[in-house]
């Protein structure tokens, strides 16, 4: 059953490659996305047994990320049908196949309990996204693709070295050499501490590059800025979560090792640096897609802080993972529409979106309020519980800094978003054919609805999964 989750999207990718028609091909995306969602729900209802050697298993941590990825992909797939109808001049074979390969790799990442396999899956997501960033085929997108490729490849290579260090720590400690999660957690307190520390540092740097933690985030504004909106949504709501999952797996092992201070502090510091970088660079950011990239840097920072704080903040961090993924979907899809309509992503040109594109403009504004933590949207709850966790542990400096950065980011983001949404429409605009229509508005609207519902009502199964997953990440003594 779990294998089918990985294989079916691959079959979809092959089918998309073989379909000759540019017009028909995008229809495969929602079809396979629906299949994937159906299988995911089925796997949630009755958790399939793990594979014989424990390589493949679906635990509550994996469930959260699998769920978000599956829903987000379905939404993006429906959007893609509308989007690609506008972009008939571009061949979309590579885009459609790449998206499905990426879905398969993201799924594999969520269910693999062998860290080597997890690494292969994360690396595959990196590779399959590269051609998608290059969809527009111009000088700017090639530059973004090259930076993305090189920086992420080097990052992922360092993560591999970190995995080798982890395996070596078992050899030095005279344990059975392995990279399976469960035996590593069980024997964590026997592992050689210095090699474990080195492994953690390299894995944090490696997967942190992929996740976009500052100062390793330099590829992010370029890639998010140049990629089509739906690819940006998947990068910010899907790939980021997979990289976070990889760090969380390593964190599980570290928490079981006994000496947790070093690991937790490293994560908190990285997270705070990311938020600081985001706050500074968002202040004068006139390109609204790059603005979203920095917002992503901010939120991965917040996730790292939540993970590093541990205790009560864990629940908040995991809930924030869901909220950030869904809200970024709204923002990127809506910003893609605005970009299409104005032919520009600068706040100097794209002004008054609320009048020109009432739906997309409104969604962009609502998404902005949601992501900056305004009630009644769900990111408010998760951000609140992370901050609450910080103050609850008596770490007033961390809590205070988070609040400060959130305030600065709100102001910086508001300047650009409000100009884009509410400003006066410039007189001379290039003519574009894009108008809001059902297929490009309904998907982000649906996500926005989810974000709103989660903000006022937490379904019991989600609560259960989040609680179980945060128990997995607790310190084990």
């Amino acid at each position: 059953m779990l294998y089918a989750l990985v294989i079916i999207p691959l079959i979809g990718a092959l089918a998309a490659w073989l379909v000759p028609s540019n017009r028909v091909r995008p229809l495969l995306l929602p079809l396979f996305a629906l299949l994937h969602v159906a299988m995911t729900i089925d796997a949630f209802m009755a958790t399939p047994p793990p594979s014989a050697e424990g390589w493949i298993a679906l635990d509550s941590l994996g469930k959260i990320i699998l769920g978000v990825t599956s829903v987000l992909f379905l939404v993006c797939a429906v959007y893609a049908v509308g989007y690609l109808a506008y972009r008939q001049e571009r061949p979309n074979r590579v885009l459609c196949s790449g998206l499905l390969v990426c879905l398969s790799a993201m799924t594999l990442a969520t269910i693999s309990h062998h860290l080597g396999l997890l690494w292969v899956a994360v690396e595959t997501t990196t590779l399959s996204m590269a051609p998608l960033i290059y969809f527009n085929r111009n000088a700017r997108s090639i530059e973004a693709t090259w930076k993305y490729m090189l920086i992420c490849s080097v990052g992922i290579a360092l993560a591999l070295l970190g995995l080798y260090f982890l395996a070596y720590s078992t050899i030095v400690a005279r344990q059975e050499p392995t990279l399976l999660l469960e035996p590593l957690v069980a024997s964590a307190h026997h592992l050689s501490p210095s090699w474990l520390n080195a492994a953690f540092v390299f894995l944090l740097v490696g997967f942190g590059t992929k996740m976009g933690l500052a100062p390793l985030h330099t590829w992010k504004p370029d890639a998010y800025g140049e990629a089509p909106g739906l690819v940006g949504a998947l990068l910010a709501g899907g790939l980021v979560n997979c990289a976070f999952l990889a760090i969380a797996r390593v964190y599980q092992i570290c928490m079981a090792s006994g000496n947790v201070q070093f690991f937790q502090n490293a994560l908190v510091v990285m997270g705070l640096i990311s938020m600081a970088f985001a706050a500074v660079f968002m202040l004068h950011q006139s390109d609204f897609k790059r603005l979203l990239a920095y917002s992503s840097v901010e939120h991965v920072g917040l996730l790292a802080i939540g993970l590093g704080l541990g205790g009560g903040a864990l629940f908040g961090a995991l809930f924030h993972l869901v909220n950030n993924g869904l809200t970024k979907g709204v923002l990127f899809l809506a910003s893609g529409n605005i970009h299409r309509s104005y032919g520009s992503k600068s706040r100097e040109v794209a002004k008054g979106a609320l009048r020109r594109l009432p739906w997309s403009g409104g969604l962009f504004l609502a998404g902005f309020f949601a992501i900056t933590g305004s009630p009644p949207f769900s990111p408010f709850l998760s951000e609140f519980s992370i901050i609450n966790g910080a103050f609850g542990q008596g770490r007033h400096l961390v809590g205070g800094l988070i609040l400060l950065f959130l305030a600065v980011i709100f102001i910086g983001m508001a300047a650009t978003v409000l100009a884009v949404v509410l400003g006066k429409i410039p007189k001379e605009l290039p003519k574009t054919t894009y108008r809001d229509q059902f297929l490009t508005v309904a998907p982000p609207l649906f996500l926005m609805g989810l974000v709103l519902i989660l903000g006022v009502w937490m379904p019991a199964p989600l609560q259960q999964v989040l609680t179980d997953a945060s128990l997995l990440l607790e310190v084990k003594r």
């Binding site: 062998h114 080597g116 396999l117 690494w119 292969v120 690396e123 595959t124 590779l127 590269a130 051609p131 290059y134 085929r137 111009n138 000088a139 700017r140 090639i142 530059e143 973004a144 693709t145 090259w146 930076k147 490729m149 090189l150 490849s153 080097v154 290579a157 360092l158 591999l160 070295l161 080798y164 260090f165 395996a167 070596y168 078992t170 050899i171 030095v172 050499p177 392995t178 990279l179 050689s192 210095s194 090699w195 504004p221 370029d222 800025g225 140049e226 660079f281 950011q285």
Partner: protein, 212 residues
């Protein structure tokens, strides 16, 4: 078995200098290919024979010695480029830095808490030295192909460390990692091709449109 491995690793470290000191990309590509093949042979002679080992050895040699150089030479021919024209730091300073990095790698490796059976072997220093060489190439070269070569040297350095733990890495993961590397280079080759068409050069210092 280990004396031979040590000699091979010395050879690998010498190739690092060849990659650092040559301006002709043909030489660099072949040097990295030779390095990859040397490393590919190592697991085959370090362990007793098994089909798994044979498959991995063959896979590494084919990927690093044949497929990747072929992709890179192809990209070079299409981009019509033969030399790294002006690296950020000259060849002599780069060689000196490489020598310093290698020396530091030996000093550092001696201080690491290694398993007793790995004490005094060249694996760790060779791994660190190669890794640092890769970084040096990545940050000091401007041509996209030279950067890919740097990435490959870095990857080779990591691979040397991996030789110490063949038991922990199952064949599927190794094969997956190798496949990812291969596809990665393939994609990079295509990107290089497009860079050269778009900018009529593969000088990555021209990629400066995207910044704050």
């Amino acid at each position: 078995m280990y004396p031979f491995a040590d000699q091979a690793l010395v050879f690998v470290m010498l190739i690092n200098f060849l990659a650092l000191g040559s301006s002709r990309m043909n030489v660099s590509v072949r040097a990295v290919a030779l390095q990859g093949v040397t490393l590919g042979i190592l697991p085959g002679i370090m362990h007793t024979f098994s089909w798994h080992l044979l498959a991995i050895t063959a896979g590494i040699i084919l990927a690093k010695g044949v497929a990747i150089p072929w992709l890179l030479v192809g990209a070079m021919r299409k981009a019509e480029i033969r030399r790294e024209v002006e690296p950020l730091i000259g060849y002599i300073p780069a060689l000196v830095l490489g020598a310093i990095a290698t020396a530091l790698a030996f000093v550092f490796a001696a201080k690491l808490p290694l398993a007793p059976e790995h004490q005094g072997l060249l694996f760790i220093p060779a791994s660190i030295a190669t890794l640092l060489t890769g970084f040096l190439l990545l940050v000091t070269r401007r041509k996209a192909i030279s950067q890919v070569i740097g990435y490959l040297v870095l990857e080779n350095g990591i691979f040397i460390f991996g030789l110490l733990l063949t038991e922990a890495m199952p064949v599927m993961v190794e094969a997956g990692a190798l496949l990812d590397l291969l596809v990665g280079i393939f994609v990079m080759g295509i990107v290089i091709n497009h860079i050269s068409r778009e900018f009529s050069s593969i000088d990555t210092s021209r990629l400066t449109a995207l910044k704050e």
